[in-house]
């Protein structure tokens, strides 16, 4: 069982349906873009903690770029905590439970609380305990499982607590952003990155400003050169398509490398533009409405690995070039995070 399975029936409304969580997740991504869930985090809290903890923490999370849902129907005595959190997780990727003296004073069925964490076994944490005015000994005596799962502590300040939660949420290795980062961190072959991006067009749509309804084509031959990724946006006013080319260098390339990867790829882009200008009909048979002056971005290297010489090479290229821009692969990573 994957960690997705348990909320699948709740999402699609058919509790009898058996499906692989991974497959469902992929299908949902394809249908709805990266925003599979409406919220990143929902906050579960005791009624008494709403004003002083839940609301300020929610504000801090929003400032940290997290989409947060504070359930209006707070946990009350007699509630099934499992039911409430299940409900929250049907709409959110993570649940943050505020563990406070108010919380532990309530007679939640311990069995249910522990069962929640059993769901995560072998998977990424789904429940993120936030300690508020509580120490480890108290939590330990309440629930040994909870005591080992500190995600954030409001004693560090709301912003710091929010930052810790954001770090978990934004770097989720199972999210598209996390999977992309995994590929980039492993300096994957550009073809693997290309395959990933082809199956996640929303990332490209956000990066290029094309929005969610973009069409992406890989390996488009324009004369003797080939465009790695063409991202198309349908312009409803003109009833026509506009295209944006992305060329992929190596993830571990450096712009200032001796073989001058930036200008080498830029020459290919120019070659494709010239070919398109001279063979417009043929080019448009592949990509309708393509223009020879299509915008292009060359992607190579990682931001953190740029030497001062690399930074100069990138800046000089962008200062001089009109129509083509150079960026690092972090452009995609940022777009994957921001487009959630």
């Amino acid at each position: 069982m994957t960690h997705f399975d348990w909320f699948v029936p709740g999402y699609d409304g058919d509790p009898t349906q058996e499906s692989s969580g991974e497959e469902w997740h992929r299908a949902a991504e394809n249908q709805e873009g990266l925003r599979v869930k409406e919220w990143d985090v929902f906050l579960s809290h005791a009624t008494e903690d709403k004003a002083d903890v839940a609301v300020p923490l929610a504000d801090a999370l929003e400032r940290a770029g997290i989409r947060v849902w504070v359930d209006d129907r707070q946990l009350r005595i007699g509630d099934s905590i499992r039911e409430k959190i299940d409900e929250g997780l049907s709409r959110s990727r993570y649940g943050a439970v505020i563990l406070s003296p108010n919380f532990v004073a309530k007679p939640w069925p311990r069995r249910e609380l522990n069962a929640l964490f059993a769901l995560e076994e072998g998977g990424t944490p789904l429940i993120l305990p936030v300690w508020h005015n509580i120490d480890r000994a108290t939590v330990l005596s309440y629930s040994p499982i909870l005591a080992d799962r500190l995600a954030a502590n409001t004693n560090d300040g709301m912003d710091e607590a929010a930052k810790k939660i954001a770090a978990v949420v934004l770097n989720d290795p199972t999210s598209p952003a996390g999977r992309l980062l995994g590929l980039l961190d492993a300096a994957a072959d550009p073809d693997d990155v290309k395959s990933f991006l082809l199956s996640h067009p929303q990332i490209l749509g956000y990066a290029t400003g094309g929005g969610r309804n973009v069409q992406v084509h890989g390996d488009v031959s324009l004369g003797d050169a080939s465009g790695d990724l063409f991202v198309g946006t349908f312009q409803p006013t003109a009833l026509s398509w506009s295209w944006y080319l992305i060329m992929l260098g190596k993830v571990d390339n450096h712009p200032a490398d001796a073989d001058d990867p930036l200008n080498r790829i830029a020459r290919q882009v120019s070659q494709m533009r010239r070919w398109t200008a001279n063979h417009l009909f043929d080019a448009r048979s592949q990509l309708p409405d393509l223009r020879s002056g299509f915008s292009a971005t060359i992607v190579l290297g990682r931001r953190a690995q740029l030497s001062p010489e690399d930074e100069t090479a990138l800046r000089d290229f962008n200062d001089l070039s009109v129509g083509t821009r150079a960026r690092t692969y972090d452009w995609f990573a940022d777009a994957a995070r921001d487009s959630r």
């Binding site: 312009q235 006013t237 026509s240 409405d289 002056g293």
Partner: protein
């Protein structure tokens, strides 16, 4: 290219308030988020064909004070002249006054063919300038590209599908197949017509996109360079290309500026063309410019050229004749 990431990071003081974000981009417009000076949140729509968006520099169209790096703008404009517009599909597509000018010509051709264009040219420019300007404009790469663009709108698409063509200023719509057929016919017709009327070969319409005056003049018309900055622009152009009136292509450059200034002044907006006239005069190119009523609105003579010790084009040519 219009760089969305750059647009997202825009934060500038505009005459209307503060621009602090990118809201979206449509076929014709870039929409920016603006907080008006009275505090009201507004959306500011600006046409996409504005040069500043394509070279990623904040021009005077957006700000009340210069928001660009002049050295960088000069380097990017130089790049445009070196690539002959190949990287952008043509400088005319990214410089608003030129885009509007060529779009207007195409729209006149679409509305009534050559008779319509010639009649409009005669009535607005007068017979003499019109007779010189129309063949020149029609033999530019910009017009050829625009017709090719329309001629292939049916490639890879159902010919019965509708489409809007000819950019934001003078758009027109129709079935893809019909528009493409019209553009192919018009291309053939123009080719024959140009053979008959034989535009002056010395005008060198083919050199237009290599012409520094065309590119920098376009930038000056499209929101770049204050009047105070123009002397430095002239210095940069002179350092890069030499004193233009002494350039081997000086006559062609002068003709380009003369024809375009007059066409812009009479077809579109006289005030806009004056920035091109001013830059040309500072570079030693003097010529008359008419308005729609046929009145001469400038001859550039009142504008002090930058190098008073260097000759104007007229002086250079007179010297050649005498010599």
């Amino acid at each position: 290219m219009i760089d969305v990431e750059w647009l997202r990071g825009l934060h500038v003081n505009s005459p209307d308030g503060v621009i602090h974000g990118f809201l979206g981009m449509g076929t014709e417009w870039v929409v920016l988020q603006c907080t008006h000076s009275d505090g009201m949140e507004t959306a500011l729509s600006i046409r996409k064909n504005h040069l500043g968006f394509h070279i990623g520099e904040v021009s005077h169209m957006l700000t009340d004070t210069p928001g660009y790096d002049m050295g960088r703008v000069n380097r990017k404009l130089r790049q445009l002249t070196e690539t002959g517009g190949a990287e952008t599909g043509g400088a005319d597509l990214i410089i608003a006054p030129y885009d509007e000018l060529y779009s207007k010509v195409i729209s006149l051709l679409a509305a009534g063919g050559m008779p319509k264009l010639l009649s409009e040219a005669r009535s607005s420019m007068g017979t003499v300038i019109g007779a010189m300007a129309v063949p020149f404009i029609l033999s530019t790469a910009a017009i050829r590209r625009r017709l090719e663009d329309i001629a292939s709108v049916d490639a890879g698409m159902d010919g019965a599908e509708p489409v809007t063509v000819n950019g934001p200023a003078f758009p027109f719509s129709g079935d893809r197949g019909k528009l493409a057929s019209w553009a192919r016919l018009m291309t053939e017709f123009l080719s024959e017509w140009l053979e008959q009327v034989s535009p002056d070969p010395a005008d060198r319409a083919d050199l237009l996109e290599d012409d520094p005056l065309y590119i920098w003049g376009g930038a000056a018309m499209d929101g770049f360079f204050t009047d105070d900055e123009l002397p430095a622009v002239v210095e940069y152009i002179t350092e890069t290309f030499g004193w233009l009136p002494e350039h081997p292509m000086a006559y062609a450059y002068s003709q380009h500026a003369f024809i375009l200034s007059n066409v812009l002044s009479t077809f579109l907006n006289e005030a806009r063309a004056m920035r091109l006239v001013k830059l040309a005069a500072m570079l030693g190119f003097l010529f008359p410019v008419l308005d729609r009523s046929g009145n001469q609105v400038s001859d550039g003579a009142a504008i002090r050229r930058m190098r008073t010790d260097a000759p104007t084009l007229f002086e250079v040519m007179r010297g050649h004749t005498i010599g």
